[in-house]
Symmetry: C2
Subunit: 488 residues, 2 copies
């Protein structure tokens, strides 16, 4: 769940395809020869060709074993951990396993330890008819490798594995300790990540975490995210009848949709973009002067171009200035209705009083907001406003996470990325998206940064997902350089 | 579109199954011998076995021809009229034809003319897995004939055809002139009925119309409806984006659902069950003292039983008293949301800003309200409240119709029904439902009454639709008696 995941590509950014042969400034390059790239692509094809759709519980154990095998082949110690080993594995009911990997530095065993967090599961491929290639084919053409997971997250994962492999090949050792933690439920909200981390927290002890994604913008600038937003995902249900009723009876019967509309109306002030639930903003902190100065000096996305691409015509009031960028990257809790399920929605005129109205709302949270507490505030609000008959379900909750931009780990990442991409980086205080980053940071007590090699228009989550081969090379070198630089 | 059409049966009302052999009080009975019933059921099976689903344009011409053939076999002059005869018939694009039928009275050619309005099209059969019989089988068991259209409207239609046939057989004549007008688009809102009526209004000239349906309650009491409500069916669309967007961008982008919620909120006062659109109620008249007295003395449905059956727990304020019954049968314009289509509604947590929110609203109208005018008032309201960006579509509109309870035609119907059913009738000033009755009444300038033989729990529009064979007999006799009594 991060900001560009379900966007589609409109233009193929050929500028990003940098001919690698010109790249001679790093030591690592001498190890990225043609055969290395072939090996990387071949292993990535192996992973892409194995469907591993967590929402359908399809191919997960198979994919975990493939990842573990590739790690072992690369010289990484690897094992597959099951959540519950007391019962036999069952495709449909078992919690998908974790792939663990580890390379101890012989020369620097007591030095830093870097943890890579990735995931081997992917999004479903529907709508299948909009794919121009086999979603599980791993087809290579025009400098790209296509397929579900080619970028998110099998592509990013392979760059991390290959970085360790090439370093091991170079000198038979790695400059710092490396660990891998690869889960199989990221695309369904990582429901067991907290339990897994608790269970393996000693084994996972580390000094810095590289998050599973990292983007590159259309100008070839690396985007580094220092945090993720939190999330409270709820369902509200208003019920009125055992099943849909002929609407002629609307003279007598209250329609549960109307009840829902009236309740929703009390939650959000659309004109002022403000959540109207009491105490909702209590824990929200203003940016510090340092943070504001940092934001002020960062290069920004071209939001206008973005708005044009998606024909966005309804903006909140702050859109046009730098304040808007601040909202995206770090500030501003949101209250977004993701969907309403009620009544007859097909072509034509059917006349029913729907039995119920169900609404899905995602509230994005900023640091210090607690999803459980916010949920209680929502419930209290509905009660107080006279809507205690509306059922509330807590579907999913996670706190925001943010590593300080002043942390030495961030400086290493930023410098390394700028060196590899030969561009000034964009450092975001937070991604606009949400994810379980806070669980890692809080359990393992260390900084966490998202950096990688995915073009922001890679069709992630959509049809025709691809990874740019030039960027996969750069991503691998980036990871090699991070490992080097983190050892110093 | 009338009130009990999509209700399901819970109990089979065996009390209604009156052994016909005991019924010796009418002249007509001697013509309803066993072979007559066999003929009626056989013709009804022929019609039920021919699917004629107007929403899918399936089997319509075929069914129209079957109806016409059955009429001819019964001694009724019949022809099939096409809307446009200049182009060859095309299953998918042609407007379904009308079946016209006529029997001139030899003994009374200048006397009254009675018009039967019916339809040969049916609702779709989905959900197919909930049928316990073949929906197009016409299976007979336990005194019932099953199948889509067995009651609505092929069952009602066959009683009218058979009434003419048996009268013709009895004396080689009918006591008054009879006309049949059977359309093929009732289940999709009769979009061409006005044009057909205009085109054939001279041929259809008559002194009274029997509407296509008529119910019998669980106590065996005939329900006679003197009118139907009007309808304004609209779709509202709020747009914001070219397609769904990741909801992390809700910090910048206005969600079109919120715009819709805010707009809907201004339309309806849920607490007081009142439409908030300016001038909405301008043309609504209070009941006259006569009408109030009439309602006061009518027997009523058992609304409590009905509420229990459907587990209705959300009532408008007037539900528990006789005032509520008045609302159902005649008063109270409604504003009902039939469905909202927006965003992600499947199991699980997806986080999107939906590209658009679409809402279907059915407004029931009472006499004197003009659907076009009300639509303009809705548009003006949205503009005035700041929602001119919400698109409004007029999907369907029809005015209410009401024949006075004092009309002599009504008295004939009421007396005849009470004689045949041997119960006091329930006479409703209007059905709670809507239909094109006003188009008939206004074009042909004559009274129109709905009476027939369908149990209110016949699963009309739902799975396992059936007609009670005892009621089909009674319905046929009712029509024979109406034809007799209308000639006097």
């Amino acid at each position: 769940m991060h900001p560009f995941k379900d966007l589609e590509v409109s233009l193929i950014d050929n500028l990003l395809y940098i001919i690698f042969v010109d790249d001679v400034m790093y030591n690592s390059t001498r190890f990225m020869i043609d055969s290395d790239i072939k090996g990387l692509l071949s292993d990535l094809q192996t992973l892409v060709r194995q469907p591993s759709i967590s929402s359908k519980k399809e191919g997960l154990e198979e994919c975990a074993n493939l990842v573990s095998n590739i790690m072992r082949k690369s010289g990484i110690y690897s094992t597959v951990f099951y959540y519950d080993t007391s019962t036999p594995y069952n495709r449909k009911s078992t919690i998908p396993p974790i792939v663990y990997g580890e390379v101890k530095s012989k020369s620097n065993p007591n030095g830093n330890t870097l943890l890579f967090y990735n995931h081997y599961d992917v999004q479903p491929v529907e709508p299948i008819d909009r794919w121009e290639v086999n979603p599980f084919g791993g087809e290579i053409k025009d400098g790209k490798i296509y397929g579900r997971g080619a970028a998110d997250d099998k592509g990013e994962l392979i760059t991390r594995i290959k970085a360790a492999e090439y370093l091991l090949r170079e000198r038979g050792d790695v400059p710092c300790n490396i660990k891998f933690f690869v889960e199989g439920e990221e695309e369904v909200g990582s429901p067991h990540i907290a339990s897994y981390l608790q269970k393996f927290r000693q084994r996972l002890a580390c000094d810095g975490i590289i998050w599973e994604f990292g983007y590159v913008d259309t100008q070839g600038r690396p985007i580094i995210n220092l945090g993720m937003k939190g999330m409270l995902y709820v369902e509200l249900v208003s019920r009125g009848l055992s099943h849909d009723l002929h609407s002629s009876l609307a003279v007598l019967v209250r329609n549960p949709i109307w009840n829902m509309v009236k309740a929703l109306n009390t939650i959000w002030d659309d004109k002022n973009a403000k959540i109207l639930i009491k105490d909702w903003y209590n824990e929200v902190k203003e940016f510090t002067a340092d943070e504001l100065a940092f934001i002020q000096h960062q290069p920004l996305y071209d939001i206008d171009e973005f708005a044009k691409k998606y024909r966005i015509n309804r903006f909140l009031k702050h859109f046009d200035d730098r304040e808007g960028i601040k909202r995206v990257l770090a500030g501003a809790p949101t209250c977004n209705i993701s969907g309403i399920d009620t009544g007859y929605i097909i072509q034509g005129a059917k006349t029913v009083i729907p039995a119920l109205a169900k609404v899905k709302i995602d509230f994005r949270l900023v640091p210090n907001m607690n999803p459980e507490l916010q949920f209680q505030r929502l419930r209290a609000h509905l009660r107080e406003k006279g809507f205690s008959d509306i059922e509330t379900s807590f579907i999913h909750g996670v706190s925001a996470s943010r590593t300080s931009f002043k942390h030495p780990f961030v400086k290493i990442l930023k410098n390394t990325a700028e060196k590899v991409y030969r561009k000034r980086s964009i450092v975001n205080l937070s991604s606009a998206g949400s994810g379980p980053m806070s669980i890692f940071v809080n359990t393992l007590k260390c900084p966490c940064v998202a950096a990688g090699c995915t073009s922001i228009f890679s069709n992630i989550h959509g049809p025709n997902e691809y990874a740019d081969i030039g960027l996969l090379k750069k991503g691998t070198i980036l990871m090699m350089e991070i490992i080097r630089d983190f050892s110093r």
